[in-house]
């Protein structure tokens, strides 16, 4: 489906003192591909975006865009758009002023600049508010402007660092829609988030990462297959992790995905195995509060790979 490689990140490692923020991290992005970097806080997503945007020195590895070294050839950067997690614009200026400034930095000028500003304002639905100072905007409008600035110069690659953080559902839907449209028009996208639903809905390829490492990579169905064609049972109750580990270690007709504070997730070959699991727990005096049967999804994959929930 995708043929042209836009970005190739190879073996990136970055340490903060003795802590490894990224370790031998590699990823590629092809034309029109939306790659979701999924991981909890501290997984290394923002570190990767900071390295890619050239503001975090002191790392090893290489980054190439269309075969050119991203950090040696500055002109290459005009073909990439960045949308940081912060609202990276000037609140004292209007939306149009902000777009004009960042557009000029990317080499847009005159009628071309005006045309692009008008088009982008329409895309992010801010055309009616373009002459208002940004400080009067709502959180969702600011997020859309943040995205518009990154997309103004029609980049071939977009780096999005949690672009939907802290906004309401409606605004989130609008932003995801804009990103999806950009992808369908051929823009490659790297999208970091810890929202499973966003990744499932938007990304053509998902990279699951934690502690700076790639745990798994592939399309959603590919990743779900890692868990297997199994029934996922989530049991909630009152128990200690150690006690539950002891109980479940005795019998292994199930796969333990994760044992959390008040929840245990197991993968079973068939749903008729559920009564056997319950029987074991009740025999050991475990008070079961709730039981849910789910299909394998990204969350179960993440639990399987890391032993912890994304929300942790």
């Amino acid at each position: 489906m995708y043929s042209e490689i836009l970005l190739e990140v190879k073996g990136i490692s970055k340490n903060y003192d003795t802590v490894a923020a990224l370790s031998d991290f590699s990823v590629t992005v092809e034309k029109g591909e939306i790659v979701g970097l999924l991981g909890p806080n501290g997984a290394g997503k923002t570190t990767l975006i900071s390295i890619l945007s050239g503001t975090l020195p002191g790392f090893s590895g290489s980054v190439h865009f269309h075969g050119s070294d991203l950090f040696r050839d500055r002109m290459v950067r005009n073909r990439i758009g960045i949308v940081p997690q912060e609202m990276a614009f000037y609140e004292e200026l209007t939306a149009a002023d902000n777009l004009a400034f960042f557009g000029r930095l990317h080499g847009l000028e005159g009628a071309d600049l005006k045309r692009r500003i008008a088009a982008m304002l329409e895309v992010v639905e801010l055309d009616s508010r373009s002459r208002e100072k940004v400080k009067q905007f709502s959180g969702g409008m600011k997020r859309r402007l943040n995205l518009a600035i990154g997309m103004l110069h029609q980049p071939e690659l977009l780096l999005l660092d949690e672009p939907t953080v802290g906004i309401d559902v409606q605004a989130k839907v609008r932003i995801l829609d804009i990103i999806r449209r950009a992808g369908s028009e051929g823009t490659g996208v790297i999208f970091t988030t810890h929202q499973l639903a966003e990744v499932e809905e938007l990304c053509s390829r998902i990279v699951v990462m934690d502690h700076g490492k790639v745990l798994a990579s592939g399309t959603l169905p590919e990743l779900v297959r890692v868990v297997g064609e199994k029934e996922i049972v989530s049991i909630e109750g009152e128990f200690s992790i150690l006690r539950m580990q002891e109980i479940l270690a005795a019998d292994r007709f199930y796969e333990i995905l994760a044992i959390l504070d008040d929840r245990v997730e197991l993968a079973l070959e068939r749903s008729d195995m559920i009564p056997r699991v319950l029987e074991i727990l009740l025999r050991q005096g475990i008070h079961v509060r709730d039981l849910k049967i789910k299909s394998p999804n990204l969350e179960t994959l993440f639990l399987k790979l890391t032993g912890r929930s994304l929300r942790d």
Partner: protein
């Protein structure tokens, strides 16, 4: 468009879009110059009349003469004299209701008429600084004059003394004639000695040939110090952007374009320079209009403003390159501006500082700008000020450029 100019233009544009801070920093020095200048303006100065108490324990001919001297001619504008008993006078001094108490002792006139030495007592109010000193000087002068008169006319006074203390109806013209003739001769002799005076005092100010000399008003003295102090505050807030852009994330976005860090640094410093330059000229024109400031050489002022703005932009680029957060920056910059202003003559005249402090003032931009502006106002080329400020600016810019380039 050149990326440097894009950064510069954006900074300038942002200040104009949110001008409150800039307007405040421009208004404050203009208002302060106006207020301080008006309060201390020589034209408006009306000194208070000095309240003097006199305890006249003598009540004689000479003491009455002394009292009249306080309320005659120009002295009347300077003093308010009231005769009181000595204890009452002391009480009033203690209550800070008079500047000095002159005690004329009993027998004062009689002893003087006998050409014997006498002592006047002047009790000063310790809670007042200058007014008692003026009273003291005046009494000293009177004492000197009286002493001279009594010494010169001692023979005549001796002859007149019985008449002065007795009833004038008993005095016959015939008995006075020989003494009047002697006095007349002495008057003529004294007048021939004093008229014309051998020494004449002519008051004038220094003039340099070929230059348009101007006497500086108090506003002209105050304005450069105030203006340069607030220029530093303006520049501090403008160059704070170097840290603010990092915190906001705009720096990352800017640097993720084709712009090189050196272009960004240059754009920010030039942007700061332009904002300061613009603000400074608004201050100059406002003060020139409001306080009738006259500049003999506008071209010299233009040069001075250019170099001082360049210095301020480079200096605050350097300080912001040395710290990590805006909080640290304001902890460093505000005290530095205040020290520059105190040592450099923005807050008080340099002449009032100690010698060591005066030597240190040479290391402040305020000193060089103030002295340079005063020279330019008079039409003198402010060469040393221009040279020193240019060197300061170049050094600060080099350090700032090196540090920022390393950190971006």
């Amino acid at each position: 468009m050149n990326p440097v100019w894009t950064i510069t233009r954006n900074d300038f544009h942002r200040r104009l879009r949110a001008p409150a801070g800039l307007i405040l920093f421009i208004l404050i020095p203009v208002i302060m110059t106006g207020l301080i200048g008006t309060v201390f303006s020589p034209k408006k100065t009306v000194l208070p009349r000095i309240p003097i108490l006199v305890a006249d324990q003598d009540g004689g001919f000479v003491s009455r003469f002394l009292l009249q001297a306080f309320s005659a001619g120009e002295s009347r504008k300077m003093f308010v004299v009231e005769t009181v008993p000595e204890p009452e006078g002391i009480k009033r001094l203690a209550a800070d209701r008079a500047s000095a108490l002159l005690v004329i002792p009993e027998g004062f006139s009689d002893r003087l008429l006998k050409i014997q030495s006498v002592r006047l007592r002047l009790v000063k109010n310790p809670s007042q600084q200058h007014l008692p000193i003026i009273a003291e000087e005046f009494v000293n002068t009177l004492s000197l004059g009286l002493s001279a008169i009594f010494w010169v006319f001692q023979d005549e006074i001796q002859a007149f003394r019985p008449f002065l203390v007795q009833d004038f109806s008993l005095i016959s013209a015939a008995s006075l004639t020989p003494f009047l003739e002697k006095a007349r001769v002495k008057f003529i002799a004294v007048r021939s000695l004093l008229d014309p005076l051998l020494i004449d005092l002519k008051k004038e100010a220094v003039k340099k040939p070929g230059l348009r000399y101007r006497e500086l008003s108090i506003f002209a003295w105050l304005f450069p110090g105030m203006a340069v102090m607030f220029l530093l505050f303006i520049m501090q807030s403008v160059l704070e952007d170097l840290l603010l852009e990092k915190e906001r994330g705009t720096l990352r976005r800017i640097l993720f374009s084709a712009i090189a860090p050196r272009q960004y640094i240059l754009g920010k410093v030039i942007g700061g320079f332009l904002v300061g330059f613009f603000g400074f000229w608004v201050m100059i024109f406002a003060c020139a209009f409001l306080f009738s400031l006259r500049f003999a050489r506008w071209d010299y002022i233009l040069l001075l403003v250019t170099v001082v703005c360049a210095f301020a932009a480079a200096f605050f680029a350097m300080t912001h390159a040395l710290v990590r957060t805006r909080r640290h920056a304001s902890m460093v910059n505000t005290p530095v501006i205040l020290v520059f202003s105190v040592l450099g003559g923005s807050m008080l005249p340099i002449e009032q500082l100690g010698k060591g402090m005066q030597a240190l003032s040479r290391f402040t931009p305020n000193y060089w700008f103030i002295t340079g502006t005063h020279q330019a106002m008079r039409g003198t080329f402010p060469g040393p000020a221009l040279l020193v400020l240019t060197v300061f600016a170049a050094v600060c810019f080099a350090v700032a450029f090196f540090l920022l380039k390393k950190r971006l």
